[in-house]
Structure formats: C-alpha cells, structure tokens
Symmetry: C2
C-alpha cells in the first residue's frame, strides 16, 4: 500500500503503530554515514558537470554512493536497494 | 592524515590495524538504507534533468537524501556530515 510521503514524515497521524515504527527506523538511519568508501580522504565530495559538454543523450549520475564509476551510476543502486529495502536511484541528465 | 582511497578500499595493505577497522565500519554501513524519507512509496527514486532547460548558471542536486527540496540540494548535507562524520555533497550542474 502506498503511503503518502507526508504521513510517513510527520507526526500528524500517530494513530497507526506501524507508522510510528517506520518513523523510528528512519531516524536511526539518519545518524549513519551513507558513503562507505568514496574519496574518504576528502571532507566533502562534490562533483561538477558541465551541461554543455555532455557526450551522450542520457547520462546517469550516482546518488547511492556505491558506484564503481562514481560520480556516474553503474547500476549498483539495484544491489543496494535489494539488500537494504531502500529505494534510491540515479539522477538522469538529458542533453 | 589523508589516507589514499585505494588503501581504504582494498585489502592489499592489511598490516595496519586501524585500516582494517575502518574497512569493517564501511561494510556495515552498506547494509542500511540511505534514504530515510524521500518518496518511500516509490520503488526507485529517479529524477530527470533536461540540461537545456537549466535556469541558473549553477544548480546543486542532492546526493545525501536529506534535502527538503529534493532533488535539489538545500545544504542539508552539512548537518548530515557533522552528525555522522560522513563526507557527502551535491552534484553541481553548470549551464
Ligand atoms: S550506482 Fe549509485 S545510483 Fe546507480
Ligand atoms: S542537501 Fe543533500 S547533498 Fe546537499
């Protein structure tokens, strides 16, 4: 069953126990790093893309921090989502 | 001390104990969801940007899954990095 995002986030409907539990799990997740291995010698990993220099009609950029070709997406989000129940995916850049 | 990425990732230099421990922590992180609250009713959150329609000279896109203006970056990665010791940041798109 699809639960509207606002219900998942807020405390406006606390009547349903499973929602309260889901909220707790989410808060716990927030306190852990999400990047296990990419450029850990860098204080902040920021990448810059020049829109005018895109080579392909469609380029996928990683947002799961598990790609072997970071900052590009190599499909590793699929394994991450399956292993953790997460729902992350890339940012697609269209020329 | 900045540790080269390859040493952090690989098992080629296991002589130093702190590196082995760091590696273990990284593996543990991989088994948790990284998106606490964005569109959790969606199986996979994918966003598409048309490079030709960028309005500003520079646009920052979120890769920390904590932005209140996702898929745009609102600076929330700063709080996340401080709270967790992480080093994530946005993807910058230059017109
Ligand atoms: S590999 Fe990270 S989003 Fe696809
Ligand atoms: S708010 Fe997520 S990367 Fe900036």
């Amino acid at each position: 069953v699809a639960v509207p995002q606002q219900q998942r986030r807020g405390g406006t409907r606390s009547g349903r126990a499973f929602q309260v539990r889901a909220e707790s799990a989410e808060v716990a997740t927030t306190s852990a790093p999400i990047n296990p291995s990419i450029k850990k010698d860098s204080d902040k990993v920021v990448d810059t893309v020049l829109a005018g220099e895109l080579s392909k009609p469609l380029t996928a950029y990683c947002r799961c921090w598990r790609s072997g070709t970071f900052p590009l997406c190599d499909g590793s989000h699929v394994k991450h989502n399956k292993a953790t129940g997460d729902n992350v995916g890339p940012l697609l850049l269209k020329k």
